[in-house]
Amino acid sequence: MFKPLETPPSDEQLSFTFDGKPVAATRGMSVAGALFQSSTDAIRNTPVSGSARGPFCMMGACYDCLVQIDGVTVQACQIPVTDGLVVSRVPNTHKGAE
C-alpha cells in the first residue's frame, strides 16, 4: 500500500492507538497517513449502506477519513499524530450493523 520514503531517525518515531491497537508513526504524519502506513485503509463504515471507507483526498475536502478523538468526530487527514494519541473508529450507525 504505502512505504516510507526513508527510515526516520528514532527520536522522530511516535506511537498512537487506533481502536486500542498500537500504530507506529513518524513526527509530521497525519493520523490518516500513519494508518495507511500500517496498511489500514478501511477506517469506517458508511451510515447509509455500512460499506467500508477510507481516506480519499488527504486535504480535508472529502470527509471520508472520519475518526473519533476525545469523543469528537474529526478528519484523520487533518490531525497530526502526537505520541500516545487515542483514536477510535466512528460508531457504525448503519442499521445492519451489530
Binding site: 516510507p4 520514503l5 497517513g33
Partner: protein, 467 residues
C-alpha cells in the same frame, strides 16, 4: 487578546494567498492570513519548508521553488494563523474560524479569497472503495507524510498524472500502469492550440520528458481507456477497463484517480458571488476582472479558486489581488495599482499560454460527466447517478432540489464531491446549459463545527464588544 481588525484578510496560504499577503504587507497594510494547514504552502507547496533531502530529490525543482514564497511570508509582517479552519465568511468582511476547539473571528476591510482548487470528482464504479485515492492525495503523502504509494495504478488524464507517476518512480515505487482516458480525437482538437503552447516550450519539454522517463522505466500506458471501474468488496482489488478494443484487468490495492482540478468555490458560493460555467475547463469559475475583483466590492479572488492556471499563475494573481485590495481601501492610488498591475498581467498571460492546449488535450471523457446509473456520485449520502436522473424525471430541476429529493449533497462534504456531477447530469437530462442549471447553494458553516466551538465564539465576540 489577539488582533481582530485588519486592512486585509487573506484566506488560504498557497501560492496565491502567500503572495497576496506579502504584497499587501509590503505596501504597509495590516494583513491576517488564515490557513487550514499547520504550515504555509497550500497543497502545491505543501510542507516545502520542512522537506528532507530525500523528499527534495523526488519532488523536484518546481516544488522547491515554493520555498522562496514561504520564506518571504516568514520575513513579512503578515499575521499568519496556521491550522485554522475557516467556516464562515460574512458579507461585511468578518471571517470566522476555529482552531483547537476554539473559535475566532477577524474582520478585513477587504478579503482576498485564495482557497485554491480541489480534484475534480471522478465518479466511476468502485471509486468509494478504500485504497482508491486521488493522485493529489498520493502526492500530498509524499510531501507531508513521507510515504510512497506502491504498485499504484494511475487512472485518468492530465499533467499531474504524469508528474505523480514520475515522482513515484523516482521514489523507488514504479507504478503498475497508467490507464489514461485521453483519445486521438482530444489530440486533434488540441492541435490548433499547439502554437500558443509553444510560447511556453519549457513546459512542453518537461511534459515530454515525463513521458520518456515512464517509457524508459517500462511503465505500461493504456490510452483512450473507457468503461473504467475498480473491483473489490472492502478494498480495491483491481482496475478493469477497455482499451485498444480489448478488456483489461490489472490487480492492485492502490488506485490513484485524476481528471484535473477545479476551483474550490465553497466560499465564493456561500457569499452568492457571480459564477459562470467555463465550457473549456468544464467547471464553474467565480466572475472576476483582471485584478481578481469579484462581483462584491469587499472580495477579491486569487489563484486556482478563480480558474485553473497552476502555481506560477496563482502567485502572480495573488499580487494582482493585493494591488486591487490596497487600492479599494485607499492604501495605494489607482495610478500606482495600474502601473504595477500592467507588468504582472503580461507575465500571467505568458504563463497561461500553454493552458488552452492542456485543457483541450486532457479534457475529461464524457463518462465522468454522465456516469452509469448505478455509479455512486454523492459519496457521503451514497446517491447514484440513476437516482439523479429519476429525480429529474420527477420534476427536480436544480441541484438544490436534489437535496430534498434524496439528500444528495447534504453530507459532511457539502457537495464538494458531487456538485459538478449533479449539475452535469441535470443539464443533460433537461437539455439545458450548466449555467441555466446552476450549482448547489452553499451555506455556513462551510465545514462542520462543534457546539463548543460555537459557544467559544460567542464568548470571543462578546469580549471584543466589551473592550
Amino acid at each position: 487578546m489577539m488582533q481582530s481588525q485588519f486592512d486585509i484578510v487573506v484566506v488560504g496560504a498557497g501560492p496565491a494567498g502567500m503572495s497576496a499577503a506579502v504584497e499587501a504587507a509590503k505596501h504597509g497594510a495590516t494583513v491576517c492570513l488564515l490557513d487550514e494547514q499547520q504550515r504555509a504552502g497550500g497543497q502545491i507547496y505543501r510542507n516545502v519548508a520542512q522537506t528532507t533531502p530525500a523528499q527534495a530529490k523526488i519532488l523536484g525543482k518546481d516544488y522547491l521553488a515554493g520555498g522562496r514564497l514561504v520564506q518571504e511570508l516568514g520575513q513579512s509582517a503578515v499575521d499568519h494563523r496556521a491550522g485554522v479552519t475557516v467556516w464562515n465568511v460574512g458579507e461585511d468582511g468578518a471571517v470566522t474560524y476555529s482552531r483547537n476547539e476554539q473559535a475566532g473571528q477577524v474582520r478585513g476591510q477587504h478579503v482576498i479569497i485564495a482557497n485554491g482548487a480541489t480534484e475534480r470528482p471522478v465518479p466511476i464504479p468502485g471509486w468509494t472503495l478504500p485504497g482508491v485515492i486521488t493522485a493529489g492525495a498520493a502526492q500530498i503523502m509524499m510531501k507531508s507524510d513521507g510515504l510512497v504509494a506502491q504498485n499504484a495504478v494511475l487512472v485518468g488524464s492530465g499533467p499531474l498524472l504524469y508528474l505523480v507517476a514520475t515522482q513515484l518512480l523516482a521514489a523507488g515505487a514504479p507504478p503498475k500502469a497508467l490507464v489514461e482516458t485521453q483519445t486521438r480525437r482530444n489530440l486533434m482538437s488540441a492541435l490548433p492550440h499547439f502554437f500558443g503552447a509553444v510560447k511556453d516550450w519549457k513546459q512542453l519539454v518537461k511534459g515530454m520528458r515525463f513521458l520518456v522517463t515512464l517509457k524508459r522505466a517500462k511503465v505500461p500506458r493504456y490510452t483512450a481507456a473507457s468503461e473504467i471501474a475498480v473491483e473489490g468488496t472492502d478494498h480495491a482489488q483491481a482496475v478493469t477497463f477497455r482499451a485498444g478494443g480489448k478488456d483489461h484487468r490489472i490487480e492492485t490495492d492502490m488506485v490513484l484517480l485524476h481528471q484535473g482540478v477545479v476551483p474550490n468555490t465553497q466560499i465564493s458560493r456561500s457569499l452568492k458571488l457571480d459564477h459562470r460555467f467555463d465550457d473549456i475547463q468544464r467547471c464553474f469559475h467565480p466572475v472576476t476582472d483582471a485584478l481578481g475583483q469579484s462581483s462584491h466590492p469587499l472580495f477579491s479572488i486569487a489563484g486556482d479558486g478563480a480558474g485553473i492556471g497552476g502555481a506560477k499563475v496563482a502567485a502572480i494573481s495573488g499580487r494582482l489581488a493585493a494591488l486591487n485590495a490596497l487600492a479599494s481601501i485607499g492604501k495605494i492610488d489607482a495610478g500606482l495599482r495600474d502601473t504595477q498591475a500592467a507588468g504582472l498581467i503580461r507575465s500571467r498571460q505568458s504563463e497561461l499560454s500553454i493552458r488552452p492546449f492542456l485543457d483541450v488535450l486532457y479534457t475529461p471523457p464524457e463518462e465522468v460527466f454522465a456516469p452509469a446509473d448505478d455509479t455512486i456520485i454523492c459519496r457521503c449520502e451514497e446517491v447514484r447517478a440513476g437516482d439523479i436522473r429519476k429525480f429529474a424525471a420527477m420534476g427536480c430541476d436544480g441541484p438544490n432540489r436534489t437535496k430534498v429529493f434524496g439528500r444528495c449533497g447534504m453530507g459532511p462534504c457539502q457537495g464538494r464531491n458531487c456538485g459538478l456531477t449533479v449539475t452535469e447530469i441535470l443539464a443533460a437530462e433537461h437539455k439545458r446549459t450548466q449555467n441555466e442549471v446552476g450549482a448547489f447553494r452553499i451555506r455556513a458553516p462551510l465545514k462542520p463545527v462543534t457546539l463548543s466551538e460555537l459557544s467559544a465564539l460567542s464568548d470571543t465576540i462578546h469580549q471584543d464588544k466589551t473592550q
